[in-house]
């Protein structure tokens, strides 16, 4: 008892510490890339561009956002979602629809920042797009979760997987839905509006500012994740994850709580999708595939389901390895040892083995949450396997 209250106390105080640390790190990266690097010697510039390009760091932030969103569903509420990429796609297309000249037949401008000459289409302010993107994906989270949350957990995984396939496929085939061009098919929607924050315009190529923007979003997600977990809803989620029956006996409304985890988890994906669309300057349907869902899941599992910091670290490491780490490491090894080894081609093996080995040997993740560590290593009491093994040993 006293142990947990101490843990709660440190959790509160570390709430402020992380904010300072995160802000410092983000500010340092921003200042480094904005002011220091452009004037630095060429060799240093090249090193940073190869190993820590700002683009990859900004993508890391998007992945953190995504992984924390999925963490609410998988880590907090214990529901497996194998189609998280659907929310990414939906958020991305909200940005594509609401802040680009794509719908050329109409002209709506709501505090938007349309590019000169491209005033047709819908142009909303970026804050509004973020809110709408979150709301839209939350609704979709409810639509997806609604019919299936009553089912067994592995059926739920399959339905989410189905949606994760259907929605990107709809986007890919969406150039002709009953004669209307809804998503522009495989070409995607480009030429998104430049973001205008209170008069300060973040241009298409202003990477440091874009990095700052997505970092802010990721920081907000970390904040919400921690606060939600410690709140009433979060404790209800954890209770459901550990024992549904016991939780419902204690008065936790199962269905509503699961719904909430689905909707709120989806918001992470939607907001991240909008952020990614702004970062890239468009949405392209062929990017959204099953592998993305699995990578996000691997981030959550690797870091430690349910633990915000574990997930953040997992997302950072895997996203970095995926975008530049593996390629750069491969080049380094090949150059030093004179080998010709194609490292990126091992990506599938890496992710597959990672998931399998983690489940076999360290189910709770590298930075585990105390409670999930106990749940994951709990043996079923009624199973006699242990007993038979022991009798076997004894008879020998």
């Amino acid at each position: 008892m006293s142990n947990s209250s101490v843990a709660a106390h440190t959790a509160v105080s570390s709430n402020r510490k992380w904010a300072i640390g995160f802000t410092t790190a983000v500010a340092a990266i921003f200042l480094l890339n904005k002011f220091v690097l452009p004037g630095a010697p060429e060799q240093i510039q090249r090193f940073f561009n190869a190993w820590f390009s700002l683009n990859s760091l900004a993508e890391v932030m998007i992945w953190i956002l995504m992984a924390l969103g999925l963490n609410i569903i998988v880590g907090y509420a214990g529901l497996l979602d194998l189609g998280y990429v659907a929310f990414w796609a939906l958020g991305g297309y909200i940005a594509g629809w609401l802040m680009s000249p794509f719908f050329s037949g109409i002209e709506i401008n709501f505090f938007g920042n349309a590019r000169p000459g491209l005033e047709f289409g819908i142009h909303f302010h970026v804050f509004l797009v973020l809110i709408l993107g979150g709301a839209f994906t939350a609704i979709w989270g409810i639509i997806i979760g609604g019919p299936t949350l009553r089912l067994k957990s592995d059926y739920l995984a399959l339905v989410t997987l189905g949606f994760g396939e259907i929605i990107p496929q709809f986007m890919l085939n969406g150039a002709d839905i009953g004669g209307f061009n809804v998503t522009n098919g495989a070409q995607g929607i480009g030429a998104l509006d430049e973001v205008n924050l209170f008069g300060y315009v973040i241009g298409t190529f202003a990477l440091p500012e874009k990095f700052l923007m997505v970092s802010l979003m990721a920081g907000a997600m970390i904040f919400f994740s921690i606060r939600l977990r410690d709140g009433r809803l979060g404790r209800a989620w954890l209770a459901i994850r550990e024992d549904e029956l016991a939780a419902s006996m204690m008065g936790v409304p199962l269905w509503r709580t699961k719904f909430a985890s689905y909707a709120i988890g989806a918001i992470g994906g939607g907001v991240g999708g909008v952020g990614f669309a702004i970062l890239v300057g468009g949405v392209y349907a062929d990017r959204f595939n099953f592998v993305i869902s699995i990578i996000i899941l691997a981030m959550v599992v690797l870091g430690g389901m349910g633990n915000v910091w574990g997930v953040v670290v997992g997302a950072t490491v895997l996203a970095w390895v995926n975008s530049v780490g593996l390629v750069q490491f491969g080049e380094l090894v090949n150059n030093t040892f004179g080998t010709n080894f194609n490292f990126p081609s091992y990506q599938f093996l890496l992710f597959g083995l990672l998931l399998v080995l983690m489940m076999l040997f360290r189910r709770e993740g590298f930075i585990p949450e105390a409670r999930i560590q106990m749940v994951m290593n709990e043996e079923k009491f009624e199973d006699l396997e242990k007993v038979t093994d022991e009798t076997k040993i004894a008879s020998k």
């Binding site: 299936t148 059926y155 709809f170 699995i294 899941l297 599938f348 489940m359 076999l360 043996e379």
Partner: protein
């Protein structure tokens, strides 16, 4: 459940959501019936043609779906890697039959070789599946359900990587042993390959049903599926039985792989993902854990997909996958137990 202590049945309340579910189900079913009926009246010959094609695919789906259903029935695991096992079977048969043995055209020698390689591929599939079970799933049998499921997803990636290394990232064309000629029956063009699929899969399905229903091992399997502890007390070696189940499932997937490679003439490393999902949908459609359900589900999915792709009035091929997943989702909403299974709602 609805009886009160006095034993008088309580009047059932009519829930609005139940009524809505029923109405929407009737609506969806009538739309599908209308669509099929319209096409049948429009062009009966083509309808029959498409039906034959559908059965052709459906039998292959059934073979793969059997593996899902057997494994799910016995350890309640959705074996995500099963589709990729099927892909490895296809790749293996291509490597042995087409590349190593050079059987690339129809001839008597090649037919015999094909049957031999069929057996080899089945053994290969069984071995791979048993190895996966031994290395990964067995340790996780008592773990929370999330753990084996994630492991299966990981295994699926590993198998895909093996396939990728084996044949590369581009789909490979297979010079098939089976001739690509058609023959005509009452105005229908029936491919020789379709006949071959019928000739191979139907006996296999019968043998599988026999093993599960009539043999001692099959009885042990069914007992283990019902209650592991009780069957252990009855002297059944549970581990061996589960291994045997995985072997049968793997063999079926291997056979399906070879038939796929020989009839469609292409092999690709990412074949397993889509087909695995289709096959799993079939298993769920029939009622997961039910052997006949898997076959029925496979045939139904094959037919629906074929109607969707081939009928003149219909969504068309680009919506083929979407169609299958929509069926999966609708199933979960209306009949999670499948056509032949019991309902399996979460007990709370």
């Amino acid at each position: 459940m609805t009886t009160v202590a006095s034993g008088v049945a309580r009047k059932k309340k009519i829930k609005l959501s139940n009524v809505l579910t029923k109405i929407s189900m009737v609506f969806i079913l009538s739309v599908i019936t209308y669509w099929l009926g319209m096409n049948l009246l429009n062009d009966p010959i083509q309808f029959a043609q498409v039906t034959v094609n559908g059965l052709n695919n459906g039998l292959l789906y059934a073979l793969i779906a059997l593996g899902y259903t057997l494994v799910y029935g016995i350890i309640e695991l959705i074996n995500f890697a099963h589709g990729d096992l099927f892909m490895l079977g296809a790749v293996f048969s291509f490597a042995v039959l087409t590349e190593a043995l050079g059987a690339m055209a129809p001839s008597t020698r090649n037919y015999i070789l094909m049957l031999l390689v069929l057996v080899l591929t089945m053994i290969f599939g069984a071995l791979v599946n048993v190895t996966i079970e031994r290395l990964a799933y067995r340790k996780l049998r008592n773990a929370p359900r999330l753990a084996p499921l994630i492991t299966a997803v990981g295994m699926s990636f590993v198998l895909q990587w093996i396939g990728l290394r084996w044949i590369g990232s581009v789909p490979v064309n297979v010079n098939t042993v089976l001739p690509s000629t058609n023959f005509e029956v009452v105005g229908l063009q029936i491919a020789f390959k379709t006949l071959a699929i019928f000739a191979v899969t139907i006996p296999l399905l019968v043998v599988l049903a026999f093993i599960v229903n009539k043999t001692r091992r099959g009885r042990a399997m069914r007992a283990t599926a019902q209650d592991k502890d009780a069957s252990r007390l009855m002297g059944i070696d549970v581990n061996k039985t589960i291994t045997f189940t995985f072997a049968i499932a793997g063999a079926a997937a291997g056979a399906a792989g070879l038939m796929w490679a020989q009839t469609t003439g292409t092999v690709a490393y990412n074949l397993g993902f889509q087909l695995g999902l289709i096959a799993f949908t079939s298993a769920v459609l029939g009622g997961v854990g039910n052997l006949y359900g898997a076959v029925l589900g496979g045939l139904v999915i094959g037919l629906i997909q074929s109607y969707n792709d081939g009928l003149p009035v219909g969504p068309g091929q680009r919506w083929s996958q979407t169609m299958v997943f929509t069926i999966l989702i609708l199933l979960m909403v209306y009949r999670p137990g499948g056509l032949l299974g019991e309902t399996s709602q979460e007990k709370v």
